[in-house]
């Protein structure tokens, strides 16, 4: 009896902490939802749009890279295919936007599954450099096939409004994060985690590594493709090969590692930090930002494999210990 009472009192502490975190999250979302109603500053809206786009990219990369342990350096290919699909269907063929947007996710996922079966034969670092080579080959090919600038047609530009783009980005980021949040509760995710820890052992205990890796890949590419569709919806003009550029792989990888790989909060915090620091430094020189993140990244890999999230839990752990 007494032991149970003490246990419940101890358990109440983290529960109170959790409630606080939830209140914070909901409050933040509330503020985010209201921002366009209170400000007309395009720079603020654009900045937040970028944050949401990067959260989606980083969190979707994290599904395969963090949870399934497959370091995918070809994430840009999914993003690019999504952008290409939406842009073609919506801006050129005149399909309704929503249809073109969903098609981006499906096209990206279909492509991912087709290449997934052969590339998952590559393990560890070979998977990383194989996917990088694949994405680069795709980028060059798209650049060759579609060398001309893709600009939105006049009627669309005339009706261009930032607000729906802002809300779509916010919704997509929330959807991605919610999926990652819901994931650990499922049996599938246990299999995915098992594959990350030890592929052979997972197989021995009846988990099919390929199926689980493909599942993680499907989710990861779905959201990356949708992010690409969002990019096509947002940008007025760009070269079709731009969304295939390695930047769209490397930036989310940096954000995820710095924030905390394999965690829910890591990619979100990392992406927000990444964009805000970049914005802050854009006034001075852009390269300083990359320099800082390069160094931060190395530090994280060497001494703090859990990124900001681990740093935070160590810090609070230390405080709790002091008390």
């Amino acid at each position: 009896m007494r032991a149970a009472a003490i246990a419940s009192r101890i358990a109440a502490y983290p529960r109170a902490g959790q409630a606080l975190i939830w209140a914070g999250v909901i409050g933040l979302l509330f503020v985010a939802a209201l921002v366009p109603q209170f400000t007309d500053r395009r720079d603020t809206i654009n900045l937040l749009f970028l944050v949401y786009l990067y959260v989606t990219l980083a969190a979707s990369w994290n599904i395969l890279g963090g949870y399934a342990g497959q370091v995918n350096l070809g994430h840009a290919a999914f993003f690019g295919i999504g952008a290409l699909t939406t842009r073609t269907l919506w801006a050129e063929e005149g399909f309704p936007f929503l249809l073109a947007f969903l098609a981006a996710g499906l096209a990206s996922m279909a492509f991912a599954l087709v290449i997934g079966v052969p590339t998952f034969r590559l393990r560890g670092v070979y998977f990383a450099i194989g996917t990088l080579a694949m994405a680069e080959a795709l980028r060059i090919t798209v650049g060759n096939l579609l060398p001309n600038l893709s600009a939105l047609p006049g009627p669309i530009i005339a009706r261009y409004d930032l607000e729906p783009r802002y809300y779509l980005a916010l919704a997509l980021a929330i959807c991605t994060a919610a999926t990652v949040y819901a994931l650990p509760a499922t049996r599938v995710s246990l299999g995915i985690l098992a594959v990350r820890e030890d592929e052979d052992a997972a197989q021995a205990s009846g988990v099919n590594p390929l199926t689980h890796k493909l599942l993680a890949l499907a989710l990861s590419s779905l959201f990356a493709g949708l992010a690409g569709g969002l990019f096509a919806y947002y940008h007025v003009s760009y070269y079709p090969s731009l969304p295939f550029s390695t930047t769209w792989t490397f930036d989310p990888v940096l954000a995820t590692f710095v924030g905390g790989i394999g965690t829910l909060a890591g990619p979100i915090i990392g992406a927000a930090f990444f964009i805000l620091v970049r914005e802050r430094l854009a006034v001075e020189l852009v390269e300083v930002h990359q320099l800082i993140f390069g160094v931060l990244f190395i530090i994280v890999v060497l001494v703090l494999p859990g990124g900001f999230v681990e740093a935070w839990s160590r810090l609070t752990g230390l405080l709790r210990f002091r008390r």
Partner: protein, 292 residues
């Protein structure tokens, strides 16, 4: 059919291939000995290019003579990188070692690239010597002096490396370490010291490759990733750790690219190597790297 342009193309393919070879050899050496995948290798090539450019424009030193300065300079940089960074991963189990080295060197790529933009701006640089653009002609086939000398330098560097690895005690210790580091340590070889040396040598070789890039082609801060991929392609074709093989595979890739122009057009040159690379990786899932 007029074969002249084809032959000319093959000759250029040979020159470019020699450069691919020398760029890949350093990467292969480092991976073979340390099982460290240094994707910043291309950035080291870039730094070698800038060092050559700097020696030429600031002090008027001929780019080929400047190798006597740039190669040792990069060797020292390699020492520093190993002692400051890679030393911390070489003690990990092999899988973690490869993965962490990939990540660290990826961070390094960003650091070097943006440092180079700060120091030298993002403009294209190339060394223009008095004999640049000149060459001799045999049966209407042109042999530019700079690229010819580039191939000679690459061959000489490979030959020196080969003699070092097969004829000297230290070189043999490097080979022994690459084949079985534990057994090597049981022979009394200080494995960590061998790693430092191999990494510094690999960096110096990247410096040599960089000098040749600066002379025959152009250098910008952004070329790092492209050269890393190029070197990786070559190394996978050859089988990781195979030094002479990497050079041969470099020439093979150069010629394959030269010939691909006729099949797919010049704009797909870069794709050919990447597709070849993916195919080889898929045919041998663990890559040609493993000895299995």
């Amino acid at each position: 059919m007029n074969l002249e342009p084809v032959v000319q193309n093959l000759v250029f393919g040979l020159f470019v291939g020699g450069l691919y070879g020398i760029a890949a050899v350093g990467l292969s050496l480092v991976f073979g000995v340390m099982k460290v995948l240094n994707v910043a290798h291309g950035s080291l090539v870039m730094l070698g290019g800038y060092a050559t450019y700097w020696a030429f424009t600031s002090y008027g030193i001929d780019p080929f003579l400047a190798l006597a300065i740039t190669a040792p300079l990069l060797f020292l940089l390699g020492l520093a990188l190993n002692l400051g960074l890679f030393r911390f991963v070489t003690r990990l189990p092999e899988d973690d070692k490869i993965k962490n080295s990939l990540l660290i060197s990826f961070g390094l790529t960003l650091v070097f690239e943006n440092l180079a933009i700060r120091l030298w701006t993002a403009d294209e640089r190339a060394v223009q010597t008095s004999y640049s653009g000149e060459g001799f002609t045999v049966a209407d086939i042109v042999f530019p002096y700079t690229r010819m000398s580039g191939l000679v330098v690459a061959l000489a560097a490979i030959l020196i490396l080969h003699v070092f690895l097969t004829r000297t005690y230290t070189g043999k210790a490097i080979r022994a370490t690459s084949q079985d580091w534990e057994a090597a340590s049981l022979m009394g070889i200080d494995v960590q010291r061998t790693y430092v040396l191999a990494f510094a040598l690999g960096t110096a070789l990247a410096g040599v490759a960089g000098a040749l890039v600066a002379v025959g082609y152009t250098v910008t801060p952004a070329i790092g990733l492209a050269w890393t991929l190029k070197a990786l392609v070559v190394v996978v074709l050859a089988g990781m750790g195979s030094i002479m093989g990497a050079f041969g595979a470099g020439i093979l890739l150069g010629e394959a690219e030269a010939l691909s122009v006729y099949a797919f057009g010049a704009s797909y040159r870069e794709v050919v190597g990447l597709v070849l690379f993916i195919l080889v990786l898929l045919v041998r899932p663990q890559g040609l790297f493993g000895r299995r």
